[in-house]
């Protein structure tokens, strides 16, 4: 009997995330019961930094292992770096926020680490079982995190809604996976592609249904129209730090798995899924942007804006060329910085029992809290796609990929949508600087960790806008061998 080959360096980042997750749980048990759990946040931050330093040496090696279950290729590693940055900033903004809102569970930080682990498994999995398990590890942790504010009915509703609909979407995904297995006899992505090519299964009805079910399952996780209904309620009710984590991390992981499965296992079906995704992309952009205009709550507005951004990313997915896929990687990282930054501002403008999440609450804060308002403006303008910020470059890459593949209408619709989005992003800015405050917002406390998160997000947004070439060349090197 042959024992399996085990290369632990390959999964070192995952091992470290797991180990620190358990360390946080243990430290929580052996520490006094107080409301302050900030030190657990610091422990988690250390874990993420260590995982980061074990991720870097893997870059460029392109190795895979565990019987074709797992790969550490450039694509996976770029996304892992993105996930670690997202988790780092999320924990930074959580440290002040959790204390303020009375989330006195040490498990909070452990669950963030475990869900980051799930995300990196989704990016690294080359076998549908690994991808599915990663997705479930991430999702279950997020369901719980969304319901962490147990005193708040909206938070419980958010967790429950996300759980029920998420379980339903998981059912679709599993059904799709099962049909794929039934038709090809394998769950390994490359083997599936080889089998389909050798047997010429292009008109196999089982595979067609499987393709639709996979689209539904992943479409739910990336919040694309028409699988987006849960997004505004869940984003509004969940703790704001977790909303930020969901909008950036879960979305990025969903795209990671979507790209991996569709481009590695089902490349022969590209004409079929291109036409489906074209429609989904246009619907997602349009619905997201138009509904965002009429929102009065900033968390709901950002939820619809995140739907719209999923639509822009799908534009590049439809294009599916090198610029497109590296553009998606660039977009996901830029979006992580600007969106986490925007949610940090939303958190900083609130205090215990007074979240100030109405858009009208932002009236006049430009004079009272000039730095906060200025940062918020930067993030919103970046999301709107105004140069010289990260969001602008991301959109340039995404739309130019579509133009290069002659999807002119898609690019035009994308740019038009982008123009619509400027309206609701600028509205907040106008309120902040050109309106009298409607009511007095006083006594805000800026925790140092949140301020640090804000600074990191600002640096990231500016860096990706001013020096995009560095990140883009990293992204372009990362996708070698994916397609």
């Amino acid at each position: 009997m042959k024992l399996p080959e085990i290369d632990l360096y390959l999964i070192a980042p995952e091992i470290i995330l797991t180990a620190f997750g358990f360390l946080v749980l243990l430290a929580d048990v052996f520490s006094p019961r107080t409301e302050k759990k900030g030190y657990l946040g610091i422990l988690s931050l250390i874990g993420i930094v260590v995982a980061f330093f074990y991720t870097l040496p893997l870059i460029g090696s392109g190795k895979s292992g565990f019987e074709g279950m797992f790969t550490a290729d450039g694509f996976a590693l770029f996304l892992k770096v993105t996930f670690l940055i997202i988790a780092f900033i999320t924990i930074l903004i959580s440290m002040g926020y959790a204390e303020r809102e009375g989330i006195a569970f040490g498990e909070y930080y452990a669950l963030i680490l475990f869900s980051t682990l799930g995300m990196s498994l989704m990016a690294s999995g080359t076998h549908l079982i690994t991808i599915f398990l990663g997705l479930e590890t991430m999702s279950i942790a997020i369901y719980v995190l969304a319901g962490m504010l147990r005193e708040d009915r909206r938070s419980v509703e958010s967790a429950f809604k996300y759980f029920l609909l998420g379980a339903f979407a998981t059912g679709f995904l599993l059904y799709g996976i099962a049909l794929l297995y039934g038709a090809t006899g394998s769950l390994q992505l490359k083997e599936i592609a080889t089998y389909i090519a050798s047997k010429n299964l292009l008109r196999n009805p089982m595979l067609m249904i499987s393709l639709v079910f996979l689209t539904i399952g992943f479409g739910f996780k990336i919040a694309s129209v028409p699988f987006h209904m849960w997004t505004p309620d869940v984003y509004e009710g969940a703790p704001t730090s977790i909303t930020a984590f969901m909008a950036t991390g879960v979305k990025a992981a969903g795209f990671a798995a979507l790209i991996r499965v569709f481009f590695t296992a089902l490349p022969q079906f590209r004409p079929d899924w291109t036409s489906i995704m074209w429609l989904i992309s246009v619907a997602t952009m349009t619905v997201g942007n138009i509904v965002a205009i009429s929102q009065s709550n900033i968390k709901r507005m950002l939820a619809y804006s995140s739907i719209a951004h999923a639509g822009y990313i799908l534009v590049a997915f439809v294009a599916g060329n090198d610029i497109g896929i590296s553009g998606i990687l660039f977009y996901l990282m830029a979006y992580a910085f600007m969106n986490l930054g925007a949610f940090t501002c939303v958190i900083l403008l609130g205090k215990k029992g007074e979240e100030n999440t109405l858009i009208t609450d932002y009236s006049g804060i430009g004079f009272k809290y000039p730095l906060l308002a200025a940062s918020m403006t930067v993030f919103l303008l970046s999301m709107a796609g105004i140069p010289p910020l990260g969001g602008f470059m991301a959109k340039v890459y995404v739309f130019s990929a579509a133009v290069k593949e002659k999807f002119y209408w898609l690019a035009i619709l994308g740019v038009l949508n982008s123009a619509v989005s400027v309206y609701y992003y600028l509205r907040v800015t106008v309120l902040m600087y050109f309106r009298e405050p409607q009511r007095e917002i006083t006594g805000l406390q800026f925790s140092p960790a949140s301020v640090l998160a804000l600074i990191i997000a600002l640096i990231g947004t500016f860096y990706m806008g001013l020096f995009p070439a560095n990140v883009l060349s990293f992204a372009q090197k990362s996708i070698v061998g994916l397609m």
Binding site: P4, E67, L111, F114
Partner: protein
């Protein structure tokens, strides 16, 4: 010896087959849902024995553990959480659902018979002998700890996350 073994197998099969049919008839005709759940367990156990007669030990064990164990447990939990008295007192008008249900059940039966007689669903033919099938627990174990070692380990983390989640969401508030 050979014939006695075969006759014994037939007797066990017939016993189990008729018990399971009887159990499923009782399952859908009892008024008390707890009794229905108990007959469901009986049905699952009989089917598990039939799997054993087909030399599929692994599926038989899973049938007992997952279906007779975990799933019936869930069903009983749900029954206990609901208000049964209310349900029993109110005379539900089930006529239409009974008719539709019977039609669907008969259709399903014909579908199954057709599926078994007309096609070989797995595409594999041949007899399932004891020699061929007796190693299937071993085969599953080897696949689990060799080829599927990595997902197997990930499942453990997934379960830990689920347990932590259940504990947090049901924990009493810190005072």
């Amino acid at each position: 010896m050979e014939t006695i073994g075969t006759i014994l197998q037939w007797l066990i099969f017939l016993g189990m087959a008729f018990t399971s049919i009887l159990a499923s008839v009782l399952l859908i005709t009892r008024k008390n849902p707890i009794h229905s759940a108990l007959f469901l367990i009986l049905n699952f156990l009989c089917v598990a024995v039939i799997y054993l007669l087909l030399y599929s030990q692994f599926i038989a064990i899973i049938q007992v553990l997952v279906y007779a164990g975990a799933i019936v447990m869930l069903i009983v939990f749900v029954i206990m959480l609901l208000d049964l008295e209310e349900e029993l007192r109110s005379r539900l008008k089930l006529f239409y659902s009974k008719v539709i249900g019977s039609v669907l059940a008969v259709l399903f039966l014909f579908g199954l018979i057709y599926g078994l007689v007309a096609t070989s669903p797995t595409g594999k033919t041949g007899s399932y002998t004891a020699e061929k099938m007796s190693a299937n627990v071993k085969a599953v174990g080897e696949a689990l700890f060799n080829q599927y070692l990595f997902p197997f380990e990930v499942v453990s983390i997934l379960l830990v996350v689920a347990i932590i989640g259940a504990v947090i969401l049901s924990k009493r508030k810190l005072s």
